[in-house]
């Protein structure tokens, strides 16, 4: 039996409080904590930043809801802070980037397998192979400019190998738009999965946009510019899966349900007891949000929130290596391309995307240059010569 959404009202909003000391608490250990603890930290930061982003957008379009939005959003902001500050300063921005792509790979792969709608599942597998390639390019960058092994971050859970080459991921915008789910017929899990990926990709985009200019090396500056552009495409892609006819309150309700679902999944999987307690506390906060928004939903829409989010959460999604699924997807689908909302073979790719990327790549391709001949090895590619002696 999974988690019942409406049995427990969670922590009431007025009791959802923080101190600066709590917000800037002890970070996790980059060296000793499990890589999936970092995956959860990065993912939940993405979920919280999406909560803030969505609630701001909603406030711009609705006067009556501005006050409750401001009240809930203040908590979302502090949750975002508490979670993001769990990352220690011994991560270089590039090492954190490896963590971000690990999130993109492992979470997208997990959600693709639990997604009941075949078209959305296909879309996730499509995006997966692109983030998988980003990992390979960034690992090459980390090795070649900082002399570090990406596997120190990945802890052998995630492969480092080429996917759909980043150089060909650049598409003309109409080929990034997908067909949305139907709000009336889609299962709650379908809605939640799509929102999780929008959140994860959006924060990845924002992160690359922030850290890209921190690098002195032109190679890094170019690669971040290139991959940030793909993350913008990914946001466009996943966002277009959301049914645009959902009402504002319906979307808010789903956001709170999704935060609840994500924290619930984190609680199930967390191995660090201190962090697990944090996830439990945040889960209770989100239940508080969900109940508050449920009341607003009943008041303004005169509908039952259960119709939208169901009575119980879906099964928690797993935080574990999806290596086999990723390898299989790579073997079968790496040559797929997008034509409008459809997936087609290599030869059928629209000329508009080819023209678009030929222009962008016309002064050289950063992702190709940085990874030219790169093969990941334990302890960086510099160990190769020793082995071959």
């Amino acid at each position: 039996m999974t988690f019942a959404l409406f049995d427990d009202r969670g922590t009431p909003l007025e009791r959802q409080r923080f101190t600066w000391r709590e917000l800037a608490g002890k970070p996790i250990s980059k060296l000793d904590d499990d890589a999936f603890t970092r995956v959860r930290v990065i993912l939940m930061h993405g979920i919280e930043s999406e909560a803030v982003r969505f609630q701001h957008a909603a406030a711009r379009m609705n006067g009556e809801l501005r006050l409750p939005l401001a009240q809930v959003r203040r908590v979302e902001h502090h949750q975002q802070t508490l979670v993001n500050w769990l990352l220690g300063a011994d991560h270089s921005p590039l090492e954190t980037t490896i963590g971000y792509e690990q999130v993109a790979i492992e979470i997208t792969a997990a959600l693709a397998q639990q997604e009941p709608d075949p078209y959305l599942a296909q879309t996730y597998r499509y995006g997966l192979l692109e983030d998988f390639d980003h990992m390979y390019r960034y690992a090459a960058l980390l090795d070649r400019i900082e002399g570090k092994d990406a596997n120190n971050i990945l802890q052998s859970y995630t492969d480092v190998a080429p996917g759909r080459p980043t150089v060909v991921e650049h598409r003309s915008p109409e080929n990034d738009l997908r067909r949305p789910f139907d709000r009336r017929t889609a299962a709650p899990i379908t809605k939640l999965n799509a929102m999780t990926l929008v959140a994860a990709e959006h924060q990845t985009h924002d992160y690359y946009m922030h850290v890209g200019p921190l690098f002195a090396d032109p190679v890094a500056r170019q690669l971040y510019a290139e991959i940030a552009s793909i993350e913008e495409q990914h946001v466009t892609q996943y966002e277009s899966l959301l049914d645009p006819t959902q009402t504002l309150l319906e979307q808010w309700l789903l956001h709170e349900a999704n935060e609840t679902y994500n924290y619930y999944s984190c609680v199930q999987a967390e191995t660090n007891p201190r962090i697990k307690a944090l996830w439990e506390r945040m889960l209770d906060y989100e239940l508080g949000h969900l109940h508050l928004v449920s009341e607003l939903f009943k008041q303004y829409e005169r509908r039952d929130p259960v119709e939208i989010v169901g009575e119980r959460l879906p099964e928690p999604f797993p935080f574990e290596s999806q290596r086999e699924f990723v390898r299989e997807t790579l073997a079968n689908e790496v040559d797929l391309r997008a034509s409008g909302p459809d997936y087609v073979s290599l030869e059928e790719e629209p000329q508009s995307s080819i023209d678009y990327r030929n222009q962008l790549n016309s002064e050289g391709s950063p992702s190709e240059i940085v990874s030219e001949g790169y093969v990941w090895r334990p302890g960086t590619e510099l160990t190769r010569k020793i082995v071959n002696l």
């Binding site: 980059k30 060296l31 000793d32 904590d33 499990d34 890589a35 220690g88 300063a89 011994d90 070649r144 400019i145 596997n151 120190n152 971050i153 802890q155 052998s156 859970y157 492969d159 480092v160 190998a161 080429p162 002195a216 090396d217 032109p218 190679v219 170019q222 290596s321 290596r323 050289g364 950063p366 190709e368 240059i369 940085v370 030219e372 001949g373 790169y374 093969v375 990941w376 090895r377 334990p378 590619e381």
Partner: protein
Amino acid sequence: MRDSIDSTRLGTNRTGMQMAPQQAKEMLDNTELDVEGADIDTNGQGIAEMRADYIREADPLGSVPPPGTMKGAVKSGIKMMKGRRPQAFIDKLGERLAYERGGTRLYDAAIVKFTTFASELPDVDVAELVQIREQEAEHALMLIECIEQLGADPTAQTPCADLVGVQTMGFLQAVADPRTDLAQTLNVLLSAELVDEAGWEILIALAESMGQSSMAARFREAEQQEQEHVFKVRGWYEAVTIEAGKLV
């Protein structure tokens, strides 16, 4: 175990291949990949070319501001540099000033760490650390006087001063991190002091070549102190490191 050497404890460091033998074996499949160009020894050639391209096209970090005041004493100071480029000197003075100010703050962060573990410190004298900190601050003040003597602006950030910030960012991060222990902190201080000492040596040579022998004399005094800093910090670092290697 003393908290101050806690970072050498054994634990579940998960970063290496040996911590997860089965997963590690699967990772190794990636080393067998048939990546185009992998067997050619051109690795990183494209990176070198891109870097070279940008190097050729780059603008400098910025410029040295021209001296603003040209009072009598200043004029004679500048005159002594006839046939030389005073801005090169001003830039380096700005660099040392930035380094000494940053160094003072680096010690501020380090000293808290040492006073926190004061009871565990047979080897390090906190009063001496405080003295080093004071000397770094005095060096900064002395440099301000020298820059003013040349009619230059000690409040301006010169290009080399700017680069000090980039160069020492890691020092500050490493020392200010509450998780780093005393030996780790001392290691950073030693790196900082070695560069500090060399920086003064070069500044003395530059001052001489600019005909600024009275400034060079003042710099020599500072450099004497810097030598002591290196000596002391190296001694503490060595003692604490060896201590951490002993069975408790």
